[in-house]
């Protein structure tokens, strides 16, 4: 990454202070010098040596502290023979039979200045060096057979028992006391840890809060007042589940969850760096992501298509578009850029992004050196790098069917016309040209105009004496001078210019080169300093990679037998998307949890390594991970199809309870009664229940059968979200296998009692659990940048709900766009309905991000973002108060309230509140807003010109003050903390 070579040149040349032209700084290593120094090596012992009794103790004593197990300074471990042969960042540590050429010997003898091993403490004695030399010269035998470690592999134990590297197994669902609270196994895990701490969960949130939470979490849009009303008054036991199913089936689901994924994909609409050229068709990948979520593409298939869709048999255009995931890398088109350096940078990014997004590992740390904390060697980094090192960036035509059809039609028409014109010419040549030529010859003979010499010569010959070539030359000449011929020929030529243009839409994809590029370790991460050659392989700490045709070939452990088949990127993708991979499902499940609770079960979603946070609920995480990856997903059958599998219908017949009925006759009281119920057990009636207890005894607020504490009583309704063909049921080891279905996973989580808790702060937890790790309540947080915009547009009625398509450019002051390099950023404002599309469609110009997005912590799209910041700043306040887009929403909401709401001010305030917050205002809230309205109305009546401006376009002279006053009220509701907060 660094320009280290030149850096060295700088310092190396400082010796040139006297400007001694012609003197080259002596290079550190010339072959002669090394040979000379080798002769100073202590001689090898002249007797047979034993590895176990002599060599191993020496290595253990002097080397293992830094070079064994997870300690791999310089990428080298010395506790395994194959590791020695393979060597570290500098290359093989020894060459059996050739001790003088072995780096191990050269380093311990100090042949390389500055590279003396061990770096500190006593040097090895000549006798010890002689021992090592003898051992190597005698073949470097390793007792216990090749490939085995020494010392019982004790050193491996740390890395291999780190929780995240051990495959999850299905944990038993814990027994809990307050069984009534448990709606599904998730709750049992959560409650078990709460009970251990003696903490009660929070009561359920009110129905208005729940539907707003669900709508924001699943679609990123607020519920309409009618949706709230329907839910609040729905007395059926599955009222909540119906809402969940409706939202999961909404096409906006794909937008919401697709945007989460785009954070990881570092999606943007421009190249980045100085030129920062637009990528007008980058959105094709974005559309693919949205559709994949909407169709509930199984996560394993989703993975394979993005990492290696191009390598699937008969890859479709969609599968190629999916590989656009790794085309979101930056591109530096600055004039002086070293293209290879840029390519290497992107390849490195592909490795680290893959590591972050799927494995939750900070693989990038091993680019320049072996990972300091996790078992990832630099060699392994380049092992994964090798998979991506052989891709080409290929833009493939991707016309829409309509474009293709239009092109085909236009082309046919063009071809037909062109053929006609060509036929005219041909007919003329055959039928008329000879006669015209003859006439011309006669005319020439008479008039003797100036002609090219060669033509004159031909004409001087009688026609029967002319050779074929001469005849042709003459005809050729005549065609160039005959005006009639010229006219027809020009018609053909002109017509060519009218050829219809091919559809411009292209998809940015990856494609495999026919011949792989060789991969080397980049010493210290410098691509110009090539270390040992590396074949594609994966991390030794994870399960072995299998290749399509040679299931056991794993280059990493191929010390004895070289891998016969080079594993491909498709193999890598399948290795990642395998249920055996201990990380993939956990990482995916954890992120899903994070999006639904504001915090992952592992709080470091990007780092499941030894330095990351440990899971707060390890068994729950494993439960979800196993469930997620159980059941055939999208690559089970190998046919690239959806496979088949049980989809969690195991216990439907057993009468398992899906949801508890939530009854909340007056949900507006949610914030009135602030205290959890104290009755039976934890008595976690929701707000309405607590209130009604006295009146009607305990309502049916609990799961009837609930969980039987083993989870077997739980089932999801078997909803077919994908709209694809029904799947043949197949026995699955887990009744609740989710078959990599993201929608089912989300449903499982949102159906839990844990999810449905109130998010209200609890005084009893402020000290004990300020981060809400134990999940005794839901979290409350400001929504993401794009969703802030969506809420404004939706509440005001401006939203254009159209899904997918090219990116849009909302209004942006010219000087902001001009911040790009030399006005290279062309910000052509979107017109009409385009302007009101959702926030995720805003054109992301990397060097000049749309200010509102940055202000609300949208990721910068340069690296994978696994968790967004949630800042709370004055610039956000200014944006929401004054930005033209948001002001326009306030005006629209003001108008909407006047038009759709009741006639009285109180009724209008109530309506505006419901549009924005999904609830009615409290008495004092309503009173304050009514007072503001009265105040504003009075002021604006006195200032009609100001009122007209403030109310915006379309305000009538007489209605302006009223409209302005409602705009002012709307503006304040839209700026409430609650409005941009998901509770």
């Amino acid at each position: 990454m660094r320009f280290r070579l030149s850096h060295r040149v700088v310092l190396g040349s400082t010796a040139l202070a006297g400007l001694c032209f012609g003197t080259v700084a002596a290079t550190a290593k010339s072959p002669d010098a090394v040979a000379t120094r080798r002769s100073t090596l202590p001689p090898a012992l002249a007797r047979p040596v034993t590895f176990e009794k002599e060599v191993l103790p020496l290595l253990k004593q002097r080397c293992f502290a830094c070079h064994s197990g997870s300690q791999r300074q310089g990428g080298l471990r010395l506790d395994r023979r194959e590791a020695l042969l393979q060597g570290g960042d500098s290359g093989a540590a020894l060459v059996p039979g050739k001790s003088a050429e072995s780096l191990l010997v050269q380093y311990v003898a100090g042949l390389e200045p500055g590279k003396i091993m061990p770096p500190a403490g006593k040097r090895l004695t000549p006798a010890e060096i002689g021992l090592l030399r003898a051992w190597i010269d005698q073949g470097a035998a390793w007792q216990g057979g090749q490939g085995s470690g020494v010392g019982g592999r004790a050193s491996d134990q740390v890395e291999q028992t780190h929780w995240a590297f051990v495959a999850p197994t299905l944990p038993a669902v814990p027994k809990v006391r307050a069984r009534a609270w448990v709606k599904n196994p998730i709750d049992a895990f959560v409650l078990a840890s709460l009970e251990k701490e003696g903490i009660r969960p929070s009561p359920y949130a009110s129905r208005p809060t729940l539907i707003r939470r669900l709508s924001m979490d699943l679609t990123g849009l607020p519920p309409t007042p009618r949706e709230v009303e329907a839910f609040v008054t729905d007395r059926s036991p599955d009222a909540y589940e119906k809402v969940v199913d409706r939202l999961l089936a909404s096409p906006h689901f794909g937008e919401r969850w697709g945007r989460h994924w785009l954070d990881l994909a570092r999606y943007a609409d421009s190249d980045g760096y100085e030129k920062d050229l637009a990528r007008p068709y980058a959105y094709l990948y974005r559309d693919w992501v949205i559709q994949a979520f909407n169709r509930d593409m199984p996560f394993d298939q989703f993975t394979v298509e993005q990492l290696a869709g191009d390598l699937l048999p008969n890859a479709t255009l969609d599968q190629k578009i999916a590989t656009g995931f790794h085309r979101n890398t930056l591109k530096n088109r600055e004039g002086g850029v070293d293209q290879e350096e840029d390519r290497v940078k992107n390849t490195v990014d592909r490795v680290s992004t893959t590591g972050t997004a799927w494995l939750g590992l900070t693989v990038a740390c091993a680019e320049c050196h072996t990972h300091k904390y996790d078992p990832i060697t630099q060699r392994e980094f380049y092992g994964i790098y090798a998979f991506f090192n052989s891709v080409d960036e290929v833009d493939v035509p991707a016309p829409t069917p309509a474009e293709l059809e239009a092109y085909r039609k236009a082309r046919e028409k063009f071809d037909r016309e062109h053929a006609g014109l060509q036929a005219n010419l041909k007919t003329f040549e055959q039928d008329e040209l000879p006669a015209r030529l003859a006439a011309w010859e006669q005319r020439v003979a008479a008039e003797k105009p100036k002609l090219p010499a060669s033509i004159g010569e031909v004409l001087n010959l009688p026609s029967d004496k002319r050779s074929a070539a001469q005849k042709q030359e003459l005809a050729q000449h005549f065609r160039s001078v005959d005006p009639e011929y010229g006219k027809l020929a020009k018609a053909v030529e002109d017509h060519l210019k009218k050829a219809p243009a091919r559809p411009a839409r292209i998809a940015m994809t990856l494609a495999e080169r026919p011949e792989p590029r060789p991969t080397h370790i980049h010493l210290r991460g410098d691509f110009l300093r090539k270390g040992a050659a590396v074949e594609p392989h994966t991390l030794a700490v994870l399960p072995a990679l299998s290749t399509a045709s040679a299931p056991t070939a794993n280059a990493r452990t191929s010390g004895a037998t070289p891998a016969p088949v080079r594993p491909t990127r498709l193999d890598l993708a399948r290795w990642i998307a395998s249920p055996e991979n201990p990380l993939t499902a956990r990482v995916a499940v954890n992120r899903t949890w994070q999006y639904l609770f504001g915090r992952g079960l592992v709080a470091t979603p990007n780092d499941f390594g030894t330095r990351g946070d440990r899971p707060s609920h390890p068994e729950l995480l494993d439960y979800l991970a196993v469930a997620f990856a159980t059941g055939a997903g999208g690559q089970g059958t190998g046919a690239g199809g959806r496979g088949s599998g049980a989809r969690g219908r195991g216990s439907e017949a057993g009468g398992g309870v899906t949801t508890a009925p939530i009854v909340s006759p007056n949900p507006m009281d949610e914030w009135v009664n602030g205290v959890p119920g104290e009755q039976d057990g934890y008595g976690l009636a929701d707000r309405g229940g607590a209130r009604e207890k006295g009146a009607g005894g305990s309502l049916n607020l609990r799961t009837a059968a609930a969980s039987d504490s083993r989870g077997s009583g739980y089932a999801l309704r078997n909803t077919n979200y994908g709209g694809t063909s029904p799947l043949a049921p197949r026995p699955s080891p887990l009744p609740q296998g989710l078959s990599w279905s993201t929608k089912k996973l989300i449903k499982l989580i949102v159906m839990s009692a844990t999810y449905q808790q109130s998010s209200r702060s609890r005084p009893d937890l402020e000290e004990r659990d300020p981060k809400n790790i134990l999940l005794a309540r839901q979290s409350r947080f400001r929504v993401e940048a794009e969703v802030v915009r969506d809420l404004y547009l939706a509440a005001s009625g401006l939203l254009n709900p159209e899904i997918g398509g090219p990116s849009i450019r909302p209004p942006l002051p010219a000087d902001i766009a001009a911040l790009g390099y030399a006005n290279s950023v062309k910000w052509a404002e979107s017109k009409g309905a385009e302007r009101y599309k959702r926030g995720m469609y805003i054109f992301y110009q990397r060097t000049v991000p749309y200010p509102m997005l940055s202000t609300f912590d949208a990721p910068d799209s340069n690296t994978a973002c696994t968790r967004r910041e949630r800042s709370n700043t004055p610039l956000q306040a200014l944006t929401l108060l004054n930005d033209p887009v948001f002001m326009e929403a306030a005006q629209a909401l003001g108008k909407r309230v006047l038009k759709e709401g009741p006639d009285d001010a109180a009724g209008r305030v109530d309506y505006a509140f419901r549009l924005c917050l999904g609830r009615a205002p409290s008495n004092s809230e309503a009173a304050r807003l009514l007072a503001l309205h009265a105040d504003m109305l009075q002021s604006f009546r006195k200032a009609p010109a100001a009122a007209k401006k403030f109310a915006g376009a379309g305000a009538s002279a007489e209605g302006a003050a009223e409209q302005a006053a409602w705009t002012a009220v709307a503006r304040i509701i839209l700026n409430l903390d609650e409005f941009v907060t998901r509770e």
Partner: protein, 497 residues
């Protein structure tokens, strides 16, 4: 050192639901003159603790309290400004021996035919210290005893955007926080009504755009806030058309009351933070225009900075175009006004120093633009007693080659290519020992021969001046503790008074 901002706020207002948070909030308003009950607030910790920009103590006693970082994008030619090389005139037109260029990559130069380009500039000695500077910068010369000139800078990058990122953020990759973001993250800001990190740009944009003042992985509270040259000084600062200040205040009062009511019910301290953010926004609506209003500045100050100058006599196509002189002068004056108001870090940007050709005329344009106002800034800070605690840095991403540029398709040997191995920059004030030159380069200015200073060293030194140990100012991101100085950086002690 502050891994979770929300968490800090939460812990501070941990008892919000019990009412203590409400009191803290009350004290916040009291402090802002919105409520008046000192007795109520007396027993409480300072309410600004909810504000991520609250001033924080450094690691040790600082010398500098604020920084004005003047960034001249494009790589000004050190050979024609700061580092006299008479030898180049002697060798003008000759080829450089292969030993110099063998392993070097250039952006545009064709190695085989490139020849040495002597500088036409005359160098003069300035100040008591006798610092040699080119004749293009007489005003700066008059400040020679206040500045420390480093002639031994070197960098790893030789393309603009990566080079800019390295100079501004310490990494050549996008997505890292700028030095100004690090400083405000570490120290907060003394400004009550303005952002802690302000950016002013003159002329055309830089190739790095906003990434040069990004907060990277730090919370956006630490991002540089661009003050604009036209329209609102801060985006969306003005009230919507038709809304008076009075009505804005009334609206915000209602908003505050409603949010407070919610806070009382829900108890989420994040609501208190949002209330505070809206109040700061309101104050900024008054403070920013006041800042930009130069009508109260005396005439001699305006003239000193060259406010109102135009580009008469310069018709070159580059340099940022018409109005740049005035804009840059104004920005220098605004920088002083910003630090006077407690802003921690001010970034001045001007692009157009990338002189691959027509170096003589274009460098003259750029120095004519910048020399007077920059020197005025130093003098003005000094006469107000602010220079001692205000660090001024003048820098770019790298330097330019002793070789003339000979790329195909451009006028040969009228400019210089990118040169990362040796370049110059200067610093003044804020604990810098003025009147000295640090480092040397060889006779043709190719390599550093004495006291090399890497960009990481520069950053380490800047943080040191602010009382921060660069190895301890860290932020955990992607599983690793990041620093402004990556894994390198040595404080250049010689620079410090």
């Amino acid at each position: 050192m502050q891994p979770d901002l929300n968490e800090a706020r939460r812990r501070f207002l941990a008892n919000a639901a019990n009412g203590v948070g409400m009191l803290a909030l009350a004290s916040l308003f009291q402090q802002e003159g919105l409520l008046a009950s000192p007795a109520q607030a007396a027993a409480l910790p300072p309410a600004q603790a909810t504000d991520p920009l609250t001033p924080r103590a450094p690691h040790f006693a600082p010398k500098a309290e604020r920084c004005i970082f003047i960034y001249l994008e494009g790589a000004p030619s050190q050979i024609d400004l700061f580092d006299p090389k008479p030898k180049l005139r002697e060798l003008h037109g000759q080829k450089l021996p292969e030993s110099f260029t063998k392993e070097v990559r250039f952006a545009f130069i064709q190695k085989e035919s490139a020849t040495i380009l002597g500088s036409p500039r005359e160098f003069k000695r300035y100040g008591k210290c006798g610092m040699e500077l080119a004749d293009l910068m007489p005003h700066l010369g008059s400040c020679a005893d206040d500045i420390a000139l480093i002639r031994s800078m070197h960098t790893d990058q030789f393309n603009h955007h990566p080079g800019q990122l390295l100079m501004n953020t310490g990494f050549a990759t996008l997505g890292r926080p700028a030095a100004g973001a690090w400083l405000t993250y570490g120290l907060g800001s003394a400004s009550q009504n303005l952002p802690g990190y302000v950016v002013l740009s003159a002329g055309r944009g830089t190739s790095g755009g906003a990434s040069n003042w990004s907060s990277g992985f730090l919370p956006t509270s630490y991002q540089g806030v661009l003050f604009r040259n036209q329209g609102d000084p801060v985006l969306n600062l003005s009230n919507p058309d038709g809304l008076s200040v009075d009505l804005q205040r009334k609206s915000l009062d209602t908003l505050r009351e409603l949010n407070q009511e919610r806070l009382g019910r829900i108890g989420d301290p994040e609501i208190a933070t949002r209330i505070a953010a809206y109040e700061l926004a309101f104050r900024m609506q008054a403070a920013a225009p006041e800042l930009m209003d130069l009508s109260q500045e005396p005439k001699h100050i305006l003239e000193m900075y060259g406010v109102g100058r135009d580009e008469k006599g310069f018709s070159g196509p580059r340099g940022g175009g018409a109005g740049t002189f005035n804009q840059f002068s104004t920005n220098c004056l605004l920088a002083r006004r910003l630090v006077e108001r407690g802003v921690r870090f001010v970034n001045l940007f001007h692009a157009s120093w990338d002189h691959h050709s027509n170096l003589d005329t274009e460098l003259a344009f750029c120095t004519q633009m910048s020399d007077q106002p920059v020197a005025a800034l130093i003098k003005d800070l000094k006469q107000r007693g602010l220079l001692d605690t205000t660090l001024v840095v003048w820098a770019s991403e790298f330097g330019r080659t002793p070789l003339g540029e000979n790329r195909r398709g451009s006028k040969p040997n009228t400019g210089r290519d990118h040169h990362p191995f040796a370049f110059s920059l200067w610093m003044a004030g804020g604990g810098i020992k003025g009147g000295q030159v640090i480092g040397e380069t060889d006779e043709i200015g190719w390599n550093v021969t004495k006291d090399p200073v890497h960009i990481h060293d520069l950053h380490a030194t800047i943080l040191h001046l602010f009382g921060m140990d660069h190895t301890r100012l860290t932020y955990r991101f992607q599983g690793r503790d990041f620093r402004l100085t990556d894994v390198a950086g040595k404080v250049v002690k010689q620079l410090i008074s």
